[in-house]
């Protein structure tokens, strides 16, 4: 029996194993929602399309499965844009489905028409405007294949209303044939041997781990490499959780707000083994002084990342999990104990620290969260100081337990992403570490969390400032706090008005009880921690500076 385009979309999503989608209806996507009404596909109605994109993204990062979001044409589609760009920058498999005006109205500035494939061209791995229902199932198959393989990324499918309504025979293709898309997963054997040899010869190696290790699921291979070589490991923000930060060889994060031990080690190493990382400016600082004495091995699935920002001695294109496993096989061990001693000394001399005097400290709250959850929670963050403190003062030991907008730095990401993460991992404690500024950017999703009773905990580190910008103004702009003194509502009352639990904390001794109460509540909770207003994130590398020249900490 022929099926409508809308039915085909839903059947195709089910063929792909999709069990949750996030969306918001509108005029040109009604046929899809009509078919959804009869299906058992679980849909979460958000309160703003941006929330749908971030929730799908959080779901994807927490589970490793593709996230799916849906919006109508025009403003619905443009509201997804920030979420799509966020996913693109952090290589998150995301499928965005958007309604579109019927084909015969395309290009006529019709009501709620926007060229969303044009708009999202630079922020999607690929996108499609489906004009013929016969291409629909094949397009969805391709979209999922592209989004989830190679270096993952978002794919948008624009669906004109008539394509959703028209009927055809449904036949979900088994295979994908794309002449121009064949990711290289096997690393070059010769280069792998060279890499193993170079590692064996190095005296002061450092492994620099990015989000690619998390995406590839290569944590076991990475762990083995580090153990075999006793090579210290530093991660980027995106790489957090790929290597246990409780391990003696863990240096913590590197870069602008990295640890001194990590930045010193990278600056002094003779071999940098970059794994699934992309030498972002927040990591390298002044590029000429980044790892100046080191040979560089770069392992990445995306050939375009190799040689983009720094010169590489041994490039290896491939799936980092496979490549690391092969390197481990061929390894000639290097166990230079001087280097390990030096690392241990740096770590002992320069731990992350903060001034404990004064009012409630945000860093203290993060430490308490780590204590209460025993490091087992999924931590999602907003962007700014809250994000950096969450990265610094909680020890991540498992992949996919730290979820944050790294590349785009999207304020307002954390709360909807936490909702998506909790839906994907219902047994985990999911905590959004937020600033008072960021939380207000998608605060409306409280209604979503309450309606579906998704028990996420929002921890607001409330300093009534746009804290990171204020910190920059303090340090680089002579304390001229232009437009960063931001007032918020009474967050406890807001939470309660939405039907969530609200708690306010102003004293250190109240922190742990509040966290325990929130976890026990099994419903959405907002904790408003009123913290020291002018606390700074340290250490800090001034923008454009060499990473071993750090301020504070």
């Amino acid at each position: 029996m022929p099926k409508s385009g809308a039915e085909i979309i839903i059947k195709s999503l089910q063929e792909e194993g999709v069990d949750a989608i996030f969306g918001y209806p509108g005029g040109q996507i009604i046929p899809f929602y009509d078919a959804l009404y009869d299906s058992n596909l679980k849909h979460y109605l958000v309160r703003h399309e941006q929330g749908a994109a971030h929730a799908a993204d959080g779901y994807a990062r927490a589970t490793g499965k593709p996230g799916v979001c849906v919006a109508t044409s025009g403003p619905g589609a443009t509201n997804l844009v920030t979420g799509i760009a966020t996913a693109y920058m952090d290589s998150v498999p995301l499928i965005a489905l958007t309604g579109q005006v019927p084909c015969e109205l395309l290009g006529r500035d019709s009501f709620q028409e926007v060229d969303i494939t044009g708009i999202t061209l630079p922020i999607t791995k690929n996108n499609y405007l489906v004009k013929d229902i016969k291409d629909l199932a094949k397009t969805i198959k391709e979209a999922f294949h592209i989004a989830t393989t190679g270096r993952p990324g978002p794919v948008l499918i624009d669906l004109p209303k008539n394509v959703q309504v028209n009927k055809t025979k449904f036949n979900y293709p088994e295979n994908v044939h794309l002449k121009g898309y064949k990711p290289t997963v096997e690393g070059n054997k010769g280069q792998i041997s060279n890499a193993a040899k170079m590692i064996g010869e190095s005296r002061k190696p450092v492994i620099y781990v990015g989000g690619g290790v998390v995406i590839s699921g290569a944590e076991a291979e990475l762990y083995r490499l580090a153990e075999l070589t006793l090579c210290p490991v530093t991660t980027t923000l995106m790489g957090k959780g790929a290597f246990p930060e409780t391990h003696p060889m863990s240096l913590g994060m590197l870069g602008m707000h990295g640890t001194r031990a990590a930045n010193y080690a990278v600056s002094e190493c003779d071999l940098l083994i970059a794994v699934g990382a992309r030498f972002d400016d927040r990591v390298t600082g002044k590029i000429d002084e980044f790892a100046p004495n080191a040979k560089v091995i770069h392992i990445d699935i995306d050939p375009a990342e190799i040689g983009k920002n720094v010169q590489i001695d041994i490039p290896i294109v491939g799936d980092v999990k496979k490549v690391l496993a092969e390197i481990n096989e061929k390894l000639e061990q290097s166990l230079a104990s001087d280097w390990q001693d030096k690392i241990a000394k740096w770590k002992a001399k320069h731990p992350l620290k903060y001034e404990t005097k004064g009012s409630l400290k945000p860093q203290f709250i993060i430490e308490q969260i780590y204590d209460v959850t025993k490091g087992e929670a999924i931590i999602v963050t907003e962007v700014g100081q809250n994000q950096m403190w969450a990265a610094q003062h909680y020890k991540y030991t498992k992949p996919r337990t730290f979820i944050s907008s790294g590349g785009l730095g999207t304020m307002g990401y954390g709360f909807p992403a936490a909702i998506g993460a909790k839906i994907g991992c219902p047994d985990a404690t999911v905590i959004d570490i937020a600033g008072d500024g960021s939380f207000q950017m998608n605060i409306q999703e409280l209604a979503t969390a309450v309606y579906y009773n998704i028990p996420v905990i929002v921890v607001i580190l409330n300093n009534s400032y746009l804290g990171m910008v204020r910190q920059w103004q303090e340090i680089f702009y002579d304390r001229r706090y232009s437009c960063t003194d931001i007032t918020g509502p009474d967050f406890v009352k807001v939470a309660e008005a939405y039907g969530a639990m609200g708690i306010r904390v102003t004293e250190a001794k109240e922190v742990k009880p509040a966290l325990k109460k929130a976890i026990a509540a099994k419903r959405p909770v907002v904790i408003d921690f009123v913290v020291e207003r002018e606390e700074n994130v340290f250490p800090m590398v001034p923008p454009g500076g060499a990473i071993h020249k750090m301020l504070g900490g």
Binding site: G118, L121, P122, I146, L178, K179, G180, A304, I306, G307
Partner: protein, 170 residues
């Protein structure tokens, strides 16, 4: 240095936008870009002339490869190839100068394809140097209008830029 890239792409809507957008977004300079169909249905071929050092070219090539619609890229600059460009020039032609113009046209083996009361349209095909030379020669007569196609190029002999590279020689 200038490089000539032969790029095979899926003949999908928007493929030109994707390629052109990539160049502008990442700040690469296109000298010229031509696109047209090939011997295979559904596959188009672009000839892109791009300015940049080896590092830039490596990035251009890798970034182009990331586009799903791009099937194959061949930097033919350092190989033996034939390249051609076509130009149409509408040049001022008074009765007193027509003879001279026609001599120039003959020398360059160009053609006159339209005669107006005070103008001629001249068509010329050739490599870039020849096109530049013919334009230079016509300048004194007053160029009213000029259009160039941009370069198309093909490898000489037994080398191919196609998706069936293993085909037998004829």
């Amino acid at each position: 240095m200038r490089h000539i890239l032969a790029v095979l792409v899926e003949n999908n809507p928007g493929v030109l936008t994707r390629v052109a957008g990539l160049f502008s977004r990442r700040g690469y300079n296109i000298d010229s870009l031509t696109v047209g169909r090939t011997e295979s249905e559904n596959i188009s071929r672009m000839t892109i002339v791009v300015e940049g050092d080896d590092l830039v070219l490596e990035q251009v090539t890798k970034q182009l490869h990331k586009l799903i619609d791009v099937i194959k890229i061949h930097d033919i600059t350092s190989e033996q190839y034939v390249d051609r460009e076509l130009v149409l020039v509408k040049v001022g032609a008074e009765p007193t100068t027509r003879g001279e113009i026609m001599q120039i046209v003959d020398i360059f083996r160009a053609r006159i394809v339209d005669i107006g009361r005070r103008t001629l349209i001249i068509e010329c095909t050739g490599d870039e140097n020849k096109i530049d030379a013919v334009i230079e020669s016509l300048k004194p007569f007053g160029i009213k209008e000029l259009v160039r196609t941009g370069k198309v190029a093909m490898l000489r002999g037994q080398k191919f830029t196609s998706i069936n590279e293993n085909r037998e020689d004829d």
